[in-house]
């Protein structure tokens, strides 16, 4: 248990530092199509506009992929899923969030392969919102989602136990 807690802080601070560096975005019109403005990290057409992708791993299962470019940043998170019930809870939760991507503005509707949820932040977002607060949000999200999945797993297990006991004690 202490092992887990000990790796959490350095993991999150590494993610925070990398994000703070990568979130320096500026407006950049498309070089290939006139009058278009696309997030370069999604298009990936020009190598000179892309930064090296970075993967920060806490362990085999939990990792974060940060891909930067001149005008956009893509963050993909792989959430810890130890057993089957955590898997379905995680799947349900990320699907729930991704369906409401419009409300979240910075959330991507589909996750990147190999990860559970992805964010796309463009220069337009950083023009409207504080960068340090955006980074705060991502870190907060990473902490909260683990807590939430644990909480839901506990709720399902307690409900199972209570309903089994209520049923069996009547015999």
């Amino acid at each position: 248990m202490t092992d887990k807690a000990a790796t959490l802080k350095p993991y999150l601070s590494a993610v925070r530092e990398t994000l703070t560096a990568a979130i320096c975005l500026q407006n950049f019109d498309s070089q290939l199509v006139e009058r278009h403005n696309k997030p370069e990290v999604e298009v990936k057409q020009n190598k000179e506009l892309l930064l090296t992708p970075v993967v920060i791993s806490r362990n085999e299962r939990e990792r974060v992929l940060i891909e930067g470019s001149i005008n956009s940043l893509r963050i993909s998170i792989a959430i810890k899923q130890a057993d089957e019930i955590e898997k379905i809870l995680c799947h349900k939760f990320t699907r729930f969030l991704m369906m409401r991507a419009e409300n979240f503005t910075i959330l991507r509707r589909k996750q990147i392969e190999g990860y559970d949820i992805s964010f796309l932040i463009t220069n337009f977002h950083t023009e409207q919102m504080y960068k340090h607060k955006l980074v705060d949000f991502i870190i907060h999200f990473m902490e909260e989602i683990d807590k939430e999945i644990n909480f839901l797993k506990l709720a399902v297990n307690s409900r199972a136990r209570i309903s089994a006991e209520e049923f069996l004690k009547n015999f």
Partner: protein, 300 residues
């Protein structure tokens, strides 16, 4: 509410209301209600031949034929005796209540009528409990297809009665949540020694059903209850029947409740996240200001 009610509450309340009205001297109203219960069972409350002072309650079960093979008719006769009448068209059993001749113990009679479904099921169990009591072994297994794709098997041995439910999980997530529940059922014996032994088998039928045409599949589960004489003896059998015949519905009800709770919790968490995200937006400052001479101007 954790445990499902054995009787049908709608039937109970409708009849109680009608009887109370009649007792207060109010004129009887016509009634025509069709009620759906678990396992595709239909109740129909109506006035036979338009006579408003008589109320007929009919029940239809798709698998009544199978129950009849195990003596359902006798048990129904035993329980409802004077109230029975020829079954309504399309229904299997009908009882009639005369509002002009209400017996003094009418609450217990109304309770009995609302237990119609349970009593239809009860015959199978009672028959096999008796086999076990008399030590008879080698009787054929009872097979009741109580739902479209789900079956119940009852078998009596010398020292126990096994009841096996096959159930289908329509949703993939249900399978996993169902497994969690069945794990807890299996371990319930540790806390309550008096509970029957519960076994669960996923995808394949349990040992007792090998070599029968029992279904297999990813979304199929088999729940086995091993009932010992302490559950099936004369004193305990009614209680046991009440609990056992509702098991499949109980399990699925709680699985759905869990999913609803998870959904509700996710919704709350999402609004939380949105609140935190919106903190990233700068506050809109009030741009309009006034000078001393009274002119208003806007600041950028």
């Amino acid at each position: 509410m954790i445990l499902l009610e054995t009787n049908n509450r709608i039937v109970l309340e409708t009849l109680t209301l009608k009887i109370k009205n009649a007792q207060d001297g109010a004129k009887a109203d016509s009634v025509d209600i069709t009620i759906a219960d678990f396992d595709g069972v239909l109740f129909h409350i109506s006035n036979p031949d338009g006579v408003k002072t008589k109320i007929m309650v009919s029940i239809s079960l798709k698998f009544y034929k199978e129950l009849q093979e195990h003596g359902a008719d006798d048990l129904i006769k035993r329980e409802y005796d004077s109230l029975l009448t020829t079954p309504e068209a399309g229904y299997n059993v009908s009882v009639v209540i005369d509002l002009e001749n209400i017996p003094s113990d009418w609450p217990s009679m109304v309770e009995k009528v609302s237990l119609l479904k349970r009593n239809c099921f009860a015959s199978v169990f009672e028959k096999y409990f008796q086999f076990q009591e008399q030590g008879e072994e080698g009787n054929a297994r009872a097979v009741i297809h109580y739902r479209d794709d789900e079956t119940m098997y009852v078998e009596a041995k010398k020292d126990r009665v096994t009841v096996i439910f096959s159930t289908i999980f329509k949703d993939v997530d249900d399978i996993i949540i169902g497994k969690v529940f069945m794990q807890e059922f299996k371990e319930g014996r540790r806390k309550y020694q008096q509970a029957p032994q519960v076994l669960f088998s996923h995808k394949e039928p349990p040992q007792e059903l090998q070599n029968t045409d029992a279904r297999t599949g990813d979304n199929i589960g088999y729940i086995t209850f091993v009932l010992f004489p302490r559950h099936t003896n004369k004193n305990a059998k009614d209680n046991t029947i009440n609990l056992i015949h509702m098991l499949r519905d109980y399990l699925h009800y709680h699985i759905k409740c869990s999913k609803a709770y998870v959904h509700q919790s996710m919704r709350a968490k999402t609004t939380d996240f949105l609140k935190v995200l919106n903190r990233a937006r700068p506050e809109v400052k009030d741009k309009e200001k006034k000078t001393i001479s009274g002119k208003t101007f806007r600041q950028n």
